[in-house]
């Protein structure tokens, strides 16, 4: 069985066979890896399509990421543009369409290293916020890349808080145009992807003024570069913002507008419109401006956060069975580092989290699809819950996964620090996800605001949305667990999470009330409670993640082997959360000190159980070697040979170092003074 799989995953490997240390891990799997993969994909048919897409892309040399780690920012950008352009040709050749079943796998196969991501956001915002007429005009142009779009919201001095934006759009009745302007340096648009060098158009968010009155932030389509020679349009200053911690391939840009005129028809006007005489008409709600952000937030959870974590787990766990270090027992050979309890305690909870968040992503996707249908029918009732939900989970999942990838990186010791391990680029990429599309603290506070509101409503006996009904059923009491085995019962730990979330929300709500009643202004009181509000929002999201994991496991009864290992992972995810946040559960005595010792014991027991299936569990994520692009994490486990071979490719080794002739030689020959 090992042979065909090797050839399937490790095409092009110059090494012979699978490292025996890794091969032996695959002999003892308690379940079928292929079946688990199919289930994760949502059915064997999806797995087939995904592999076909991956194969088509990886076999095409234009999409190769082989030299990525050695490239400069300029080279990375050029490669990203080349890939994005080639993708259009490829899609036609393969008969893939934007809405086809293949499209969601294309991104995964390219591992994100291609340009025009914001072009998609540009199109998405037109589809959601534009009228039918605007959609009919712009979408065909964008689809054929007659125009390349970007999405310009963030300003140098302003981020997530939309109302704070300074860019203005003043309606000029005489010419029937909007005049867009950047009044200050902090109002300059800053960060939008694809804008620095590529985009011809962008959706600009600006404060709308009619007859001197401000109507708040609205979206406008603005042309920024000539469609002929790509030079900047009059009144436009734009460029690249310089090197970042990651996303070297993206030309994140700045944009300054000096009295730029755009026709009245360029304001996206599905929900509000400025009529020729300057009358302002709304249809719907201002909240709809947040909808594109909500969808983007949910899509990044999967593409930018969970997949990098799965890759990091794959690399770290495979490497941990190949790497041997010190001796566990005298006289034996050095032990695999994954056999050390401390290494298991680092990596296996991250693996459990990768699964937990994969399932949460399915849950969010369902919510979003439902919400989108409602919005199409002009029913905006579900928006607050959807917005609160997407904000909280975006924050919680990105934060959790960023720490998790960092744990994986550090767990690989020195070699994890080499770019060739693939881990640093996964880490910097995922770290950015904590910040863009809404800074996490602000997002958690939005969730908290929603939770407090629902809690108040529930206390007053009013109906509340489905995801928070537990707030209405507050039960004081103690955890009934009597032995460590009781903590492997999902009812027990779900209730513990529920209890803790409710306690944090209700106590913060009470405190907020107290402060307000003592005469402090509402907003000051809010700021004094924000640290606890953030904690409450996290506890809520953590609780939903645990419960959703347990429910997912329950539905697996037709696949007993997979259900069994998923149950272990679910238990581990839940108990790791209690173990790492013991104080929250001990605080009001819901868990006793003795029960906490039981939690710890069960938690540590699980590590040894899951250890046996660790490699099959990461194999099931089904990443090809090319997509991992890691010298440490390849399917065949030949980590050291690959590391040595890749290092020799480093450009620093190909040329004789200019530093030698210029500086070292005079130094070594003690002729420095003549320099």
């Amino acid at each position: 069985m090992a042979l065909p799989e090797t050839s399937k995953y490790s095409q092009g490997s110059v090494f012979n066979g699978v490292n025996p240390d890794l091969a032996s891990e695959r002999q003892t799997a308690s379940f079928s890896v292929e079946k688990l993969t199919a289930w994760l994909d949502g059915g064997a048919e999806h797995t087939r399509i995904r592999r076909a897409v991956v194969e088509a892309i990886e076999s095409d040399p234009v999409f190769s990421r082989e030299n990525q780690y050695f490239q400069s920012q300029n080279e990375r950008y050029e490669a990203a543009v080349r890939k994005a352009v080639h993708l259009q040709i490829k899609m036609r050749e393969m008969g893939w369409t934007e809405n086809g079943p293949e499209s969601k796998y294309i991104y995964r196969a390219l591992s994100g290293d291609f340009a025009f991501l914001l072009h998609r956001v540009f199109m998405r915002s037109i589809v959601v916020l534009g009228s039918d007429k605007q959609i009919a005009k712009w979408i065909p142009l964008a689809t054929q890349y007659r125009v390349i779009g970007s999405y310009a919201q963030t300003e140098l001095g302003h981020g997530t808080y939309l109302q704070g934006l300074e860019t203005t759009a003043v309606f000029d009745i005489t010419t029937q145009e909007f005049i867009l302007n950047t009044p200050t340096i902090s109002a300059m648009k800053w960060w939008p992807g694809d804008m620095g060098r590529s985009a011809t158009h962008t959706v600009v968010f600006a404060q709308l003024y009619i007859h001197g009155k401000c109507y708040g932030v609205h979206p406008f389509i603005v042309q920024i570069r000539s469609l002929q020679d790509h030079s900047l349009c009059p009144g436009i200053t734009a460029g690249d913002i310089g090197p970042k911690m990651s996303f070297e391939h993206t030309d994140n840009g700045y944009l300054m507008l000096q009295k730029v005129h755009v026709p009245r028809e360029n304001m996206l006007n599905k929900f509000c419109e400025v009529q020729p005489d300057g009358t302002y008409v709304t249809r719907g709600t201002e909240k709809i401006n947040y909808f594109p952000m909500t969808t983007v937030r949910i899509s990044i959870i999967s593409d930018e956060v969970i997949i990098p974590l799965m890759k990091a787990c794959t690399i770290a766990i495979r490497y941990s069975v190949v790497r041997r270090q010190s001796k566990l027992n005298p006289g034996e050979q050095e032990a695999k580092i994954l056999d050390y309890q401390t290494q298991q305690e680092k990596l296996l909870p991250q693996l459990a989290a990768a699964y937990a968040f994969h399932f949460i992503n399915n849950y969010l996707q369902e919510q979003l699809d439902r919400g989108y249908k409602e919005v199409q029918r002009k029913n905006f009732d579900t928006l607050p819950e959807l917005h609160a939900c997407s904000s909280g989970f975006k924050a919680m999942v990105t934060q959790y996964c960023t720490s998790a990838v960092e744990v994986c990186l550090r767990a690989c010791g020195g070699h994890g620090y080499s770019l060739l391990s693939g881990l640093p680029s996964l880490y910097t990429k995922i770290l950015a996800s904590c910040i863009y599309e809404g800074e996490n603290t602000i997002l958690l506070l939005q969730t908290a605001r929603f939770l407090i509101k629902c809690f108040m409503a529930a206390s007053a006996g009013q109906p509340i949305p489905p995801s928070v009904t537990y707030l209405a059923a507050v039960k004081p009491g103690k955890c009934p667990a009597k032995s460590k085995l009781d903590f492997l019962n999902p009812d027990i730990y779900i209730e513990a999470y529920q209890h803790t979330a409710v306690r944090l929300i209700s106590s913060t709500a009470a405190k907020l009330q107290d402060i307000i009643q003592s005469g402090v202004k509402k907003y000051d009181a809010w700021n004094q409670c924000t640290v606890q509000l953030v904690q409450a929002a996290k506890a809520h999201c953590h609780y939903i993640s645990v419960e959703n994991f347990a429910e997912t496991v329950e539905k697996l009864e037709t696949k007993p082997a997979i259900q069994k290992i998923m149950k272990h992972l679910c238990d581990l995810f839940a108990l790791h959360g209690i173990f790492s946040n013991a104080g929250l559960f001990l605080h009001d005595g819901y868990l006793s000190g003795a029960q906490m010792d039981m939690v710890t014991a069960s938690y540590l027991d699980l590590l040894a159980v899951i250890r046996k299936d660790a490699v099959p569990l990461v194999d099931a994520f089904d990443f090809t070697d090319k997509s991992l692009n890691s010298a440490l994490g390849s399917y065949d486990g030949q980590a050291y040979q690959r590391l040595y071979e890749w290092a020799q490719k480093s450009p620093t080794n190909k040329q004789i170092s200019p530093a030698y002739e210029k500086y070292l030689k005079p130094l070594l020959h003690n002729t420095l003074s003549k320099l």
């Binding site: 400069s72 920012q73 050029e78 352009v85 054929q144 890349y145 140098l156 001095g157 302003h158 808080y161 704070g164 902090s186 300059m188 060098r197 590529s198 790509h230 460029g239 913002i241 310089g242 090197p243 700045y254 790497r323 041997r324 270090q325 010190s326 027992n329 050095e334 401390t342 305690e345 550090r410 020195g414 070699h415 620090y417 080499s418 770019l419 907003y523 000051d524 700021n527 004094q528 104080g583 001990l586 605080h587 906490m596 050291y640 040595y644 890749w646 290092a647 490719k649 480093s650 450009p651 620093t652 170092s657 530093a659 030698y660 500086y663 070292l664 130094l667 070594l668 003690n670 420095l672």
Partner: protein, 599 residues
């Protein structure tokens, strides 16, 4: 400082826009100049060299770090007088540039696992250095890739058919004059890493490469011409250099964290966002409680680590005096303490970067500390007293006599008194050390293998080490307060000390609650007190980072500028980006335009 900042030779080009090769070249240029200037100004004191260095390289590593920091000190401590005559002056004059090659591709902290061999051949009186496998290739040493022409190589010594363990050898690797690798030597750069772009971390493979017998560092162990092996006094000495490096890392963690705090706090005072009160302008983000909660505990930590770094440096200096006189009794505690503190501070300071210079791994360090703690605990249990930082363990047997020791302790903690908080941390450390030691004992009773038992307890052991290090840091911070004579400075540092200690409690409430050191009600007070402290420290936040006294060029940050003109400078800086060099990027002509024509 002014010497460097005003010297045109060291003028600043923006590193962010340079490629790796360019960065390396700049670092080499500055290192070469630096050595000349040091000689020119007659700077020889190690501390002064350190400061000079940190200003030339603006806190960045440089290819000569290992030459100055490891190669020369190792020569001084482990070479015989004859060897010093041969190597030290050429190395001092940089005719020899050396590095320190310990880590191998497949082996890190566990020294005994290294595979490189040095086999003595009495016929020619040479050692044959060999890298027998891929995993034995030396990997990571700084300056090895492109800069050095010599390396101190750690290898397993074989003589008269027997393995005598690890020893250090001076190995020439590049031809003097041409700088080409010598026959039998394969050497190169290991490729890009996460940061440290200017450092040419390297690999080294030796194929039966011969060096004269006199190139083994023989101050302690020796191989005689006929191959007879003469044992050293104590093999603990090999650890000496590592202890030294680790103690530097602790200080470096404090330094990196201080810089990060300076940047983040200054920027937070400049950045405005959202609104606190409807209708008012957007406030400074430093006025948000959540932002204070993120940054001030780190600021407090930077100060705490600063004091710890100073403590370790002093202790090291004191103890190394004893070592020279043959007194090795304090070396185990120092080794345990630097291991744990290195792991603890670099974990916390998120400067996990430095650890890679040695490719040592924090968990291993924590377990080294744990081994010492368990040993001390066992000593106490058998009725012996222990000294030093672990002396609190002496109280454990006495406490056990009291039936309700736990409840009796809890009420005494006063959360506004740093010394009382030290006691709380002490109690937590004692409890966790005791729990780990007991769990270890239980495991030992259940299975034959000592090693299995150790492994099955290692998560507990790491927790115990962390608690111990945390205690040491709080203790040193609190002790420092009484030494401050200026009342205003003492007041603000007391607030920081309280914040550091109380924040640590919040992050580990479980430990304090479970052991009954603090009650639920006290934890609620701690939360409250921390939030109050945030507001108290807020007015002094910028002043506290200004006190770190980083020059703008040293910070190298657009956001952290002393003058706060962030946005203007970001714009200026962005305009210099290589992608902006041409108004229309070449990829427009190469890719975009043809695509638009085709589609």
């Amino acid at each position: 400082e002014a010497l460097v900042l005003n010297d045109p030779d060291f003028q600043h080009e923006d590193l962010n826009f340079l490629s790796r090769s360019q960065r390396y070249e700049q670092a080499i240029r500055k290192s070469a100049l630096m050595v000349m200037k040091l000689r020119e100004y007659g700077i020889a004191d190690p501390e002064e060299i350190y400061w000079f260095k940190s200003f030339v390289h603006r806190g960045r590593p440089e290819p000569l770090d290992l030459h100055l920091g490891m190669f020369l000190p190792t020569l001084l401590t482990q070479a015989t007088p004859e060897q010093q005559d041969r190597f030290f002056m050429p190395a001092w004059n940089l005719e020899i540039i050396g590095t320190y090659a310990q880590t191998e591709m497949g082996h890190g902290t566990h020294l005994r696992g290294l595979e490189t061999t040095a086999t003595y051949d009495p016929a020619t009186q040479e050692f044959i250095l060999n890298s027998p496998t891929v995993t034995s290739i030396k990997w990571w040493p700084g300056g090895l890739g492109k800069t050095s022409n010599h390396a101190i190589v750690l290898a397993q010594l074989y003589t008269q058919g027997q393995c005598k363990g690890l020893h250090a050898f001076i190995v020439p690797i590049r031809q003097l004059g041409t700088h080409e690798p010598l026959p039998g030597i394969t050497v190169g750069d290991i490729g890009p890493k996460f940061g440290y772009d200017e450092m040419d971390n390297g690999y080294l493979k030796m194929d039966n490469f011969r060096i004269p017998r006199e190139n083994m560092l023989m101050k302690y162990a020796q191989v005689e011409p006929d191959g007879t092996y003469v044992k050293p006094l104590s093999d603990k000495l090999t650890y000496g250099t590592m202890v030294f490096i680790r103690s530097l890392i602790v200080g470096d963690s404090a330094h990196s964290l201080s810089r990060a705090c300076t940047i983040a706090i200054r920027y937070s005072a400049v950045r405005h966002q959202s609104e606190l009160k409807p209708g008012e302008p957007e406030p400074q983000i430093l006025d948000y409680q959540t932002q204070q909660y993120k940054l001030f505990p780190l600021l407090a930590t930077a100060y705490a680590f600063h004091f710890v770094g100073a403590y370790i440096k002093d202790t090291y200096r004191r103890i190394s005096g004893d070592i020279d006189e043959g007194d090795l009794s304090e070396l185990p505690e120092l080794h345990a303490l630097t291991a744990g503190l290195k792991a603890f501070t670099s974990w916390t300071a998120n400067a996990g970067i430095e650890e890679c210079r040695m490719a040592c791994e924090n968990t291993v360090m924590m377990l080294q500390t744990a081994r010492f703690l368990v040993k001390s605990y066992t000593q106490v249990s058998s009725g012996q007293q222990v000294t030093g930082m672990v002396s609190y363990l002496n109280d454990l047997p006495r406490q056990r006599i009291q039936p309700q020791q736990v409840a009796a302790r809890s009420v005494t903690v006063r959360i506004n008194d740093p010394l009382s908080l030290v006691e709380a941390y002490k109690a937590r450390a004692a409890r966790l050390v005791e729990a780990a030691a007991k769990n270890l004992q239980t495991e030992l009773n259940h299975r034959k293998s000592k090693e299995d038992a150790w492994n099955r307890t290692s998560v507990d052991l790491v927790r115990a080490s962390e608690a111990h290090c945390h205690y040491v840091i709080v203790k040193l911070f609190a002790a420092k307060l009484s030494e401050i004579s200026n009342a205003a400075v003492r007041a603000v540092l007391t607030e920081l000390c309280l914040l550091y200690a109380l924040y640590g409690i919040i992050k580990n409430t479980g430990d304090f609650l479970q052991a009954g050191i603090l009650t639920d009600a006290q934890i609620t007070q701690v939360y409250q007190r921390v939030k109050e402290l945030l507001a108290v420290i807020r007015p002094n936040a910028v002043a506290l980072v200004d006190s770190f006294d980083f020059h703008d060029v040293h910070l190298g940050s657009v956001l952290g500028r002393y003058d706060g003109n962030v946005y203007e400078n970001m714009f200026e800086w962005a305009k210099k980006s290589p992608l902006n060099q041409k108004e229309v990027h070449e990829s427009f002509h190469k890719h975009l335009k043809p695509m638009q024509a085709k589609l």
